[in-house]
């Protein structure tokens, strides 16, 4: 166990020496991080595709069955299938329509949040700039308050 005492005079001298070698400068304000345009346009293309393709067929198209006996048989089965599955397909169509609307609303909400985020970032940068200015004033003030006995350093602005 070493000497547990602390000599304030020596401690003060050490603190003065330590700070004599330090240099201070104001922090520059941060830069806005640029949002990646690529991912945003990709999201927009996906949403446009959903708008174009959400309405799936809900009835059988006879033109797609072809001609002849084979076409008649396919037409019968096709009409029968769509008649049986009709309620389900209409429900699914309604669901898809709502999903697309929900996605549209989400996109608008995301756009709003992005704008708000950018505003907040700008507010923070403005605040940071004001803080830096205030710190600079403080540094000048500390610099002006030089020790009377000349034994201690002044804060450096370099």
């Amino acid at each position: 166990v070493g000497d547990p005492t602390v000599d304030p005079e020596q401690l003060l001298e050490r603190l003065r020496e330590e700070h004599n070698t330090l240099r201070w400068g104001p922090l520059p304000p941060g830069q806005l991080r640029v949002i990646e345009e690529d991912s945003q346009s990709r999201n927009r293309r996906s949403l446009e595709y959903l708008h174009r393709h959400w309405a799936l067929p809900d009835k059988f198209d006879p033109a797609s069955s072809g001609a002849g006996l084979r076409g008649k048989i396919i037409g019968v089965f096709g009409r029968l299938t769509f008649r049986v599955l009709g309620p389900y397909l209409r429900e699914e169509r309604e669901l898809l329509a709502h999903l697309v609307q929900a996605n549209q609303a989400l996109e608008q909400r995301c756009d709003n949040l992005t704008v708000r985020c950018e505003e907040l970032s700008q507010d923070m940068i403005d605040r940071q700039a004001a803080e830096a200015e205030n710190q600079a004033k403080l540094a000048v003030w500390l610099h002006l308050e030089a020790p009377e006995d000349g034994g201690s350093p002044t804060s450096a602005s370099a």
Partner: protein
């Protein structure tokens, strides 16, 4: 100290007359310590207080003291003029080089002699065995004592809040006449000895202070269990420098809670946000804040003996104080803290005390010093009685 001549003492016991320019002012260190000295004297003697205060001459009772009011209170403007002249006249030049000290003395003491004119009659009635004059500037009180008798031993309670004032030549007669001079701190004692010599007659009393153990029961709710710095910025008058320095601390140390006491409010800063509370008025609340703080930054320590700084040390909390204040003695001699000469050093000192290797050790050292020199009422009474020649040993001798 030689004992008082007690051969002619009758059954009335010892009578001590305490001449104090102001007796009712107890909220300042000067008034407080005057009462403490009177209280210590009252352990061995009947203490009769004589003061120019009061609207009319009369006698009132105050605790164990009889207060003889002369009804001729001293004008504050006269005291202010005297203090300004005394401080302004004493610079780096030798005292004997001062121009026309007599004229300065007359000017300084104008309107300060007459209020004491009734005191000699009161003293004649009391026939005191010892006269204690409160204040090294109380030339009027000394004049009243000389009018009464040149034989009665006189003790001067220096009350040297301003050390330069102690060296003002017109105050020399008080020190010349005094059998002993009572001072509170070592700095004050040194100043008296530097000016007038006779170190064997200049006593350092300290003060009777104690830590309140209840303060450790739980922290103040405004700071909770946060680690915090306590900044005392609530002197008599809040000046711009004190206000600026107190704002500097939370700005420089946003990572630690900072509690600031101001005359009109009590603010707590946490991570850049401030909450305001009613001002700290009860001494128990201040004690609690001191007891739990990492360090106490006293920006306006008391000018006579820096009572709050001592109290902080009694709670084991290290102090940061101005380099030209009376509190520096407690930080330097008591090894209980650091002192600063400018705002930059203030921040370095706080950094130093926040260092876990230094802060608690300085706090412990300061506590030992404060307890030894200021923490015992019994020892304070003994020192007062010894300095005045009233100690039990000398009385029985």
């Amino acid at each position: 100290m030689t004992a008082l001549p007690l051969n002619d003492l009758s059954a009335r016991g010892l009578v001590v007359a305490l001449l104090a320019p102001h007796w009712s002012r107890t909220n300042h260190e000067v008034g407080w310590i005057t009462r403490q000295v009177a209280g210590a004297l009252a352990c061995s003697a009947r203490v009769e207080v004589v003061s120019p205060e009061g609207a009319a001459p009369g006698i009132t009772s105050d605790s164990v003291f009889s207060v003889h009011q002369l009804g001729s209170p001293i004008e504050p403007s006269a005291e202010l003029r005297r203090d300004l002249i005394a401080i302004g006249s004493v610079g780096d030049s030798p005292l004997d080089a001062l121009p026309s000290t007599t004229a300065l003395g007359r000017l300084a003491n104008r309107d300060l002699i007459a209020p004491w004119s009734g005191a000699s009659g009161v003293l004649a009635t009391l026939s005191p065995d010892l006269i204690v004059i409160a204040g090294h500037q109380s030339v009027g009180a000394l004049a009243a004592v000389d009018d009464y008798s040149g034989e009665v031993p006189v003790v001067v309670l220096a009350q040297g809040s301003e050390l330069r004032s102690l060296a003002f030549p017109p105050f020399l007669p008080l020190f010349d006449r005094a059998r002993s001079v009572l001072t509170i701190t070592q700095a004050e004692r040194n100043a008296v000895i530097d000016g007038y010599g006779r170190p064997e007659s200049v006593y350092r009393l300290g003060a009777p202070l104690a830590a309140n153990p209840i303060a450790f029961s739980e922290p103040d709710s405004s700071v909770g269990h946060d680690d915090y710095l306590l900044v005392l910025a609530d002197g008599d008058i809040e000046d711009q420098e004190t206000s600026g320095l107190s704002q500097l601390v939370p700005s420089r140390f946003p990572g630690i809670t900072v509690a600031i006491t101001r005359p009109d409010t009590f603010c707590v800063w946490r991570r850049g946000r401030m909450t305001e509370h009613p001002p700290i008025e009860r001494s128990s609340d201040l004690a609690r804040l001191m007891a739990w703080a990492r360090a106490t930054v006293d920006l306006r320590p008391g000018r006579l003996f820096a009572r709050r700084s001592i109290e902080s040390l009694l709670y084991g909390t290290p102090i940061v104080v101005p380099h030209d204040s009376r509190a520096r003695e407690h930080a330097e001699r008591g090894r209980g803290g650091l002192w600063f000469a400018n705002p930059a050093e203030l921040t370095w000192c706080i950094e130093g005390l926040l260092d876990p290797a230094a802060g608690p050790t300085l706090g412990a050292q300061g506590r030992s010093y404060a307890e030894a020199e200021y923490g015992s009422t019994d020892r304070f009474i003994d020192r007062v009685l010894e300095a005045c020649g009233l100690s039990p040993a000398s009385v029985t001798a």
